[in-house]
């Protein structure tokens, strides 16, 4: 066992603890960014002026009428920006744009004494637009060849020839909608200026360092003049990885110009209409199987809907391409990706980061082809699982293939699948107007940022003279339980009771140069850094203890706050040791650092070992579909999921359940609609409110939801043997979609292949089951034969050479 993964007896990690802020949450005392302004004096409120066009030039902007509105203090425009007028990291997101690129884009911001005054001021601002033609849907973008960024290809072997040799070849298209994060807390920032002009920004951000950098470059400041703090977030899910920066920058700009604190909080409509979402994807594919149903070759081109700017679209696409294989061995592969440029919000990170979209493609392929091959879908899936030693299409070696198989078998046993399949068949034969089905799908999800450089983290641990411990690390808390886990890691490493350890909010002046809390990597990276800091302190304390107890330092251990050593019965309390150490002039604080070893990735050829390990899981889902309406219910879900040796089981089970339900929402309910007509509202988000964009509610909770953590799942490569858990479970929800497909198919003759749109709303399911019933075939169905070649990458597309990789290569060359 590695030192990183080895766990002492009676460790605090591994205990099922409640969220460290649970008591504050339930009593309404937990503070979030927007809870601060009522506690702050002289705050100004910011309100956006949103453009009513999908694409237009701003030809004139008159702010004078707004300044007449009582309570309006100032209108922020491009002229006010002392630094760079850009809210992103790629230089393609003007903060105060002269060209509007999506409906609802903010063209300027009004500051008022109250939110109401600012709102009225925004209504009074006069803007002239010159409307331009717009590209909205993926189909329009593909037809117009409106793409942005690199067009990478993951390739192994010779897919075209393998397809020629395959016994069964099919082709088809798959399209899936995006998803709104709908974190319950919308984006918010509160900025103020310090005595010396430094800026302090409270921001609901998953990436405080980048928020700091953007604020600095907009204001023309250096990073040490800007501090960003994130108390906690009311949900992030990736939606606050890049999106908060611009709003923090506007608040900071307002504060610099007025000298007063500025609060900027998007209301739900603002947040829905202005911030990025999960990317919708289109895929054209062709696939070959042998007679036993083994996958032989897959060719696919995935086109994501990036919206108006690049944001994180390239890395999202990379992860999508790296997850099309999911848990399946496909010998010959060619996967190409493109990012469409459309006049919509700039789509961004969302739990899974392209992984779900990539996996949906292969699960869709298998779900649609299984009936045509005459093989049960679960049998087809199982037959194609990886075995150890095989490599992924991008070249990473598979080493834990047994985990998918073990989880699969356990789900079958725990879920009593054989018996229940018989019951389903019985139900279906006795009910005219309803069908049930059970589907099982696996998840294999790569952990680490694809971009190697981001896999580093820092922490700052203070031990005070009284023995109490304060931990700060670079990760942010958004509900995922990171802080709870970090407390457990610190208590375990130091060997002290949990009550001695506290966590301070995340801020950039405590731990600098942090990566986003994203890619499920928060606990792995920050846990490594916290552990490192604690070990440094402990090593120093062991010296002191060794002298006191007259044993070698290496013999000293701290167990539950008591200092013990081999070779002596004498003990010391933690407090005594710390007290002694201070007077012996010992440094009682340390900066910890961690970087994930063994990763390499070359974006230009999409090959390498980008992931430290894979997280695995399997879900079996039973659904019932109503023939009259297409309405559906999830009756039972059994999940076995691999979290390594869990750091915090209550937290991990919460992530699995929450991820599953969120994934089910994406696939079956949440329905983003834009006005794609040619009228005045073209480009408007038609589902721009909570009443039109529906999330799963408690009534959608499956009647039975069993979650089991996979046993014997130690992970050598991560802190205390654990695995990341934030994103992978979301993809377990693909089992819901596949079950719905099978239930629709059960209305038809055996061998019916069902084409199911995503999201599978009641309406979508209704049409699908009608089609299955009548045997009608609609356009876009999977067809035998190789069909059209999925589009090849444009040779003129820019090369994907991220800065980080260039820097590493330079080092190697030097």
């Amino acid at each position: 066992m590695s030192r990183l993964s080895q766990r002492p007896d009676d460790a605090v990690v591994g205990r099922a603890l409640r969220h460290e802020s649970a008591d504050l949450h339930v009593t309404g005392r937990a503070l979030y960014t927007d809870d601060l302004h009522p506690r702050t004096k002289d705050v100004l409120h910011a309100w956006p002026v949103q453009a009513p066009h999908a694409h237009a030039l701003v030809t004139d902007l008159r702010v004078a009428p707004a300044l007449e509105v009582p309570g309006v203090v100032r209108v922020l425009t491009a002229q006010d920006v002392p630094g760079t007028n850009d809210g992103g990291i790629k230089g393609d997101e003007p903060l105060f744009p002269s060209e509007v690129c999506f409906h609802g884009q903010a063209v300027c911001w009004v500051l008022g004494e109250t939110a109401e005054a600012a709102r009225r001021g925004a209504l009074a601002v006069e803007v002239d637009y010159d409307a331009l033609p717009s590209t909205l849907t993926l189909a329009e973008a593909i037809a117009a060849e409106s793409f942005q960024g690199a067009q990478p290809t993951v390739q192994r072997g010779d897919a075209p020839s393998a397809l020629e040799r395959a016994a069964h070849v099919f082709h088809g298209e798959t399209e899936m909608a995006g998803q709104e994060h709908f974190y319950l807390e919308t984006n918010a920032a509160l900025a103020r200026v310090e005595d010396d002009g430094r800026v302090f920004v409270e921001s609901s951000t998953q990436h405080p360092t980048e928020t700091q950098e953007i604020v600095a470059h907009v204001l023309g400041l250096q990073s040490h003049e800007v501090t960003v703090q994130c108390l906690r977030m009311g949900g992030g899910f990736g939606g606050k990885e890049m999106q908060p920066h611009a709003y923090a920058a506007v608040a900071a700009l307002g504060a610099r110009l007025t000298g007063r604190p500025v609060r900027l909080r998007l209301n739900r409509t603002h947040d829905l209409t202005m911030t990025g979402k999960r990317h919708g994807f289109h895929a054209r594919w062709r696939v070959g199987f042998d007679d036993e149903g083994h996958l032989l070759a897959l060719e696919a081109t995935l086109t994501s809907d990036g919206g108006w700017s690049l944001d994180l679209s390239e890395p999202v696409l990379a992860r999508a391409l790296c997850h099309v294989d999911n848990a399946y061995w496909i010998p010959d592969v060619r996967l190409t990706g493109r990012v469409a440029r459309t006049h919509k919000t700039s789509q961004t990170a969302f739990r899974g980061f392209g992984g779900p979209q990539g996996m949906l493609v292969i699960e869709d392929v298998l779900g649609r082809c299984a009936p045509l091959l005459g093989i049960e879908p679960h049998e087809l899936r199982r037959r194609n699982f990886y075995v150890d030693g095989q490599t992924t299409p991008y070249g990473q070696v598979i080493t834990q293939a047994d985990r998918v198989r073990r989880a699969w078998d356990q789900v079958a046993t725990d879920g009593d699948l054989d018996r229940r399949r018989a019951e389903v068949a019985e139900f279906n034969s006795t009910h005219e107007h309803a069908r049930r089905a059970i589907a099982v799908t696996p998840v294999k999800f790569g952990i680490s940022f694809n971009l190697t450089a981001f896999n580093q983290a820092g922490a700052l641990v203070h031990v005070y003279k009284d023995g109490s411990v304060l931990v700060t690390h670079g990760g942010t808390e958004m509900g995922q339980g990171l802080h709870t886990k970090m407390l457990q890691v610190a208590a375990t490493t130091l060997g002290v009771p949990l009550q001695l350890v506290r966590l301070a909010p995340t801020r950039t002046d405590k731990v600098p140069n942090t990566s986003a809390t994203a890619a499920s990597s928060g606990a792995d990276l920050n846990g490594g850094a916290v552990k490192d800091a604690c070990e440094q302190i402990l090593d120093r304390l062991a010296q002191v203890a060794g002298e006191r107890l007259q044993v070698p330092a290496a013999a000293v251990r701290v167990v539950d706050g008591v200092v013990v050593a081999e070779g002596t019965d004498e003990t010391l309390s933690w407090a005594e040791l710390v007290h002694t150490a201070y007077f012996a002039r010992t440094q009682l604080f340390a900066a910890g650092y961690y970087r994930t070893e063994g990763l390499h990735w070359d974006s230009s050829v999409m090959q390498g070992s980008p992931f430290k390990y894979f997280a695995h899981g399997v879900a079996a889902t039973e659904v019932e579909v109503d023939a009259f309406t297409g309405a559906h219910r999830t009756l039972r879900v059994d999940i076995v999921h691999d979290v390594g040796d869990s750091l915090s089981p209550l937290v991990d089970v919460g992530q699995i359940e929450g991820g599953f339900v969120q994934g089910a929402g994406w696939l079956t309910l949440e329905d983003l609609r834009w006005d794609t007509g040619d009228g005045a509202g073209r480009g408007r988000l038609a589902t721009a409110s909570a009443s039109t964009y529906k999330l799963p509610s408690i009534a959608d909770l499956p009647e039975v939801l069993n979650v089991t953590l996979l046993s014997r799942a130690h992970e050598e490569g991560a802190v205390y043997g654990s695995k990341a858990v934030g994103e992978p479970p979301l993809m377990l929800a693909l089992s819901v979609r596949e079950a719905l497909r099978q239930a629709c198919a059960a209305f038809g003759a055996s061998g019916t292949s069902v084409d199911l749109p995503s999201p599978a709303t009641p309406e979508a399911v209704f049409w699908a089951l009608q089609e299955a019933r009548t045997g009608a075939r609609a356009q876009g169905h999977v067809d035998p034969g190789a069909g059209p070649t999925p589009a090849l990458p444009d040779p003129d597309a820019p090369e994907r050479r991220p800065e980080s990789e260039v820097a590493v290569d330079d080092l190697a060359g030097a």
Binding site: L31, A686, S697
Partner: protein, 498 residues
């Protein structure tokens, strides 16, 4: 309800977590209860949507219980929708008031222990909605009947009598709800010493005569109907305010700033409920929760409607007057009341008139209601039809706006349809009766053949549109399917309802 002497301007107050707090100078008729609380540092209540959909803003309000005003109940409502002026003199409890980290309320303890909070943003709202159900009188009586819904749409119920759908108006994006369900089902009975449990046994706070001015607008709670009607007659810009579940959305999302709000929800003249020999009379100012409880299933079609109408948080405010007042084509009450042949009593300072609901709607969000008139009462003639069903088709199973809604009320005598009333919502600019379908059914045998044929007629009713909720084709298909479903579920005529 008795009303006390008018408030002096500026003397309006709210009792928050046991302490009276003046509304203050900066409070306007449009200030929501949520903003008002948060501005006072009570930031536990959150804004997740400002339109009644997420429940992050839920708070407890003390209301008269259904026993004629001698005791009180704790009701959870969306504080983002209700103008704080409409709560003048009332008692409100927030998550902060229920417990402290040192002394958690039982609801808070269960949620915290079971992982019911992740990011915690939805949590204070859940705490309040759960607390309302925790204190619901008679909850324990159903204890032991685990998982057994009270009706088709009533939803599951815990072993402790906790109706799970009490929290169906609260959204959580993090937990997936399982720990919240477990927490709800683990709750016991309130302690004898629990102050909120004790408060239930005392009389409710009477509504106060309120007059709140600010930002060029006015909010008035009149003493009685007469005063309300005079105001309506004198002020053409007056807007009635009942539960504010529609008005609140207009204010928050669409920037409406009505000049005069006249609160009518506590007027005793609008709060009668009576099941007579030949008609049922329902006060237009009763909340849907009150109507549901008061009728206790005596109008089965309405009993089917309520659980499918919004969420409990909304139903604790929403009134029939407000639902029909907007003449919305997608309101759910209208199709049901059309199928029930209901009539409305419209009152003005000149007197009252009775209008059949079938004649009430005149166009998109338009009705025969004149300026100066309000809906005082809804009347449903008896006896009721024997074969009835309410079918609501929407994307989400509960708490969603209808794509289409249908209410069927058929009399089937000796196997033949003798009378048919079918109300439709969502397929035309107004709620409509499916007149062609009705006549196609009458005098026909209630058989599969009839139904399959007439389903085609029903599918062709109305002029449904395509929008983000549903396509026109789906809406039409749902009309036809609804008749097939009615027959599949009730192939024989049910017993006639008393």
């Amino acid at each position: 309800m008795t009303t006390t002497a008018p408030t002096e301007a500026g003397a309006a107050f709210l009792t928050v977590n046991g302490t009276p707090v003046p509304l203050g100078d900066t409070t306007t008729p449009h200030t929501t209860t949520l903003d008002w609380l948060r501005d006072r540092g009570l930031t536990g209540s959150k804004e997740g949507c400002a339109e009644g959909e997420c429940g992050a803003c839920a708070v407890l309000v003390a209301r008269p219980s259904g026993d004629g005003g001698t005791s009180t109940e704790w009701v959870a409502v969306n504080s983002c929708l209700v103008p704080v002026g409409a709560l003048d003199g009332q008692e409100v409890v927030t998550a902060e008031g229920l417990g402290t980290p040192e002394q958690l309320h039982p609801v808070q303890r269960e949620l915290a222990d079971r992982g019911g909070s992740q990011c915690g943003y939805c949590t204070p709202g859940f705490v309040c909605a759960m607390a309302a159900e925790f204190y619901r009188a008679g909850r324990g009586e159903r204890a032991g009947h685990a998982e057994e819904g009270t009706g088709e749409h009533a939803g599951p119920c815990g072993p402790n009598g906790f109706e799970l759908h009490a929290v169906s108006g609260n959204l959580c994006r993090c937990t997936g709800y399982r720990p919240i369900r477990d927490a709800a089902y683990a709750l016991g009975e309130p302690d004898e010493s629990d102050p909120l449990a004790q408060r239930r046994r005392a009389r409710p706070t009477p509504a106060r005569h309120t007059r709140l001015l600010g930002d060029g607008a006015e909010l008035v709670r009149p003493v009685d109907l007469a005063e309300a009607l005079v105001l309506l007659a004198e002020r053409p810009d007056a807007l009635l305010l009942a539960g504010s579940t529609d008005v609140g959305v207009e204010v928050n999302l669409r920037g409406a700033r009505p000049r005069l709000l006249v609160a009518v929800d506590r007027l005793s003249e609008l709060r009668d409920l009576e099941v007579g020999d030949d008609e049922v009379r329902i006060g237009a100012g009763l909340t849907l929760t009150e109507v549901e409880r008061g009728l206790a299933g005596r109008v089965p079609l309405l009993a089917q409607l309520f659980p499918q109408f919004a969420s409990p948080l909304i139903r604790n405010g929403a009134t029939l007057g407000g639902n029909l007042g907007t003449a919305s084509p997608i309101g759910d009450a209208a199709p049901v009341l059309l199928a029930l042949d209901a009539a409305l009593v419209l009152a003005s300072s000149e007197g009252e008139r009775v209008v059949d609901l079938a004649d009430y709607f005149t166009g998109y969000r338009e009705s025969v209601r004149r300026p100066g008139e309000l809906i005082r009462e809804v009347r449903i003639p008896l006896p009721l039809a024997g074969t009835t069903a309410f079918h609501k088709v929407a994307k989400r199973r509960v708490d969603d706006i209808s794509s289409v809604a249908l209410a069927h009320a058929l009399d089937v005598v000796d196997g033949t349809v003798t009378r048919a009333r079918i109300g439709l919502g969502g397929v035309a600019p107004t709620p409509v009766r499916a007149l062609r379908t009705e006549s196609a059914l009458v005098d026909r045998p209630w058989t599969r053949e009839t139904v399959e044929e007439v389903a085609g007629v029903l599918a062709a009713e109305g002029t449904p549109l395509t929008d983000h909720r549903a396509s026109a084709a789906y809406r039409s298909a749902m009309l036809g399917q609804s008749l097939l479903r009615l027959y599949a579920e009730q192939p024989r005529a049910s017993k006639e309802q008393p």
